[in-house]
Subunit: 290 residues, 2 copies
């Protein structure tokens, strides 16, 4: 992952945090016995504890595949609302010898004790801890209404994701998330992260968005995981109007997407999908069976 | 769910908590549009916040399907090691009007602040918060070695589970967990819980085990979810020697199962499976292809 460049040469360059680059091998081989009594070697996904320390204060331990630990740490702090801007972060240093990441802020985090005082254990895999009442924030979010997703662009997204799922294909037991740009029939993945917990994958994408100064307001967020309230809230916080999943959705995911006016598509595999909410941004090109 | 009877008439009856019985409808209908532009009605899984108060102190908010909220609350406290015995709990009262469950203990929880001070956000879906270092406990656990799982009994388990997945079949987006007894070719489900988070389903089973005074030491624990370290730890804490999943496993799930000597089987669908660890308790009856 490359730290992003400023969006315009006339702007002052953004201050980027100093980052380690501590990606781990994602899969390992183990032996197993199948139903016919045959010994075989199969690949399994890695899973490593990573304890986040912010200015030497222990915040949380995440269990992760370790593919993008620096972006994960940044995205976790972003999505938990513990930092408000990438510029608050001076350094993110991962050390797998001690399974820790040291995040140093430029001027400390005000009020960190209070912000961490409310825990919500959410439905999703992995990073289930949310501090504070994110639902209250939903009503303040306005997603862009002047952007469109074409059905052919959705098909291009699903094909691009299919080609990227390397860990899932070899070992299973991971979730993938992607951030994509799209225009009519075309779609390209800006970021694709797999992790043992899908909320880690979401947070790593959020971290990459900050590091690269990517604007979410016309992008697609794709996840292999279920569309729960927390997934919708996180996408909305990143200003992303399009949320696509291979899986199904829950009632609160549906209600939250309807409330914030997000274009939410579930059960998207190959050319099949179900469009649940925000149909005003979707341009269908239905293939009617003969 | 029936409160359990004492295991022997010569024992004093166990004190059972007073329980509400606040099961929710699991699925809801919503409209969607498919890839052919057709409007249709589809069912989605419920998802409700449930805030646990222990002796009026707010502990956590879980997002749940709401099928077994009392058992979920009890199992959460059990698996987080906040209570040590069902007899410590006097009352569990769920009120969906305010999305809360009030748990009253008989004599308070010592040291609750310290016990809740370490948060680990684990890989799994849903209830990812673990207080304290559960891994340290693993080395003190000894699982029974005089029990066996027959391959034909495993097949019977998978068939029984297949017949029970009601919410998953109609709405998807849920995980299921089961506790089963077995003897040679036979297997029967003592409990089967589906929830939007698989860790909720695990905890609800743990709660039912306490309420019914079920001994885990010869049982099978089945989950549709992945076999992560936390799943193995929870099964081990319940003294369960057999852990079976439809899904794959992670590296720490594998290492933890090997460390505690659990018989762990993944990718178990129909008559297929992979036996990863603890093969000494497994009695194969391989069907060798002609």
């Amino acid at each position: 992952m490359q730290p992003g460049m400023p969006t315009s040469p006339t702007q002052a360059p953004r201050r980027q945090p100093s980052l380690s680059c501590a990606t781990l091998e994602p899969t390992f081989e183990v032996e197993a016995t199948d139903e016919n009594g045959q010994r075989l070697v199969t690949r399994i996904a890695g899973e490593h504890p990573l304890t986040l320390y912010v200015d030497r204060r222990e915040v949380v331990t995440l269990m992760t595949l370790g593919r993008a630990p620096e972006a994960l740490a940044i995205g976790y702090l972003r999505n938990q609302r513990l930092v408000r801007s990438i510029e608050e972060i001076a350094s993110v240093q991962v050390d797998w010898e001690v399974n820790a990441v040291a995040i140093t802020t430029r001027s400390g985090i005000d009020d960190i004790e209070r912000r961490m005082s409310h825990r919500t254990v959410t439905t999703g895999c992995g990073q289930g801890t949310v501090f504070g009442d994110l639902m209250a924030e939903i009503d303040t979010i306005r997603l862009r209404d002047d952007v469109r997703l074409h059905q052919s662009g959705l098909a291009a997204l699903l094909e691009a994701v299919r080609q990227h799922e390397t860990v899932y294909k070899s070992a299973g037991a991971v979730h993938g998330c992607a951030l994509a740009t799209h225009e009519r029939d075309h779609c390209s993945l800006l970021a694709f992260v797999e992790d043992v917990g899908r909320h880690n994958a979401v947070d790593a994408i959020a971290g990459q968005m900050w590091l690269n100064d990517w604007d979410g307001s016309d992008k697609i967020f794709y996840t292999t995981g279920r569309l729960t309230s927390e997934m919708v809230i996180k996408a909305a916080q990143m200003q992303i109007p399009f949320l696509v999943s291979r899986s199904g959705l829950t009632q609160m995911g549906y209600e939250t997407a309807a409330r914030v006016g997000m274009t939410m598509i579930g059960r998207a595999i190959n050319r099949h999908f179900l469009l649940f909410t925000g149909s005003h941004r979707f341009v269908p090109s239905p293939v009617v069976a003969p």
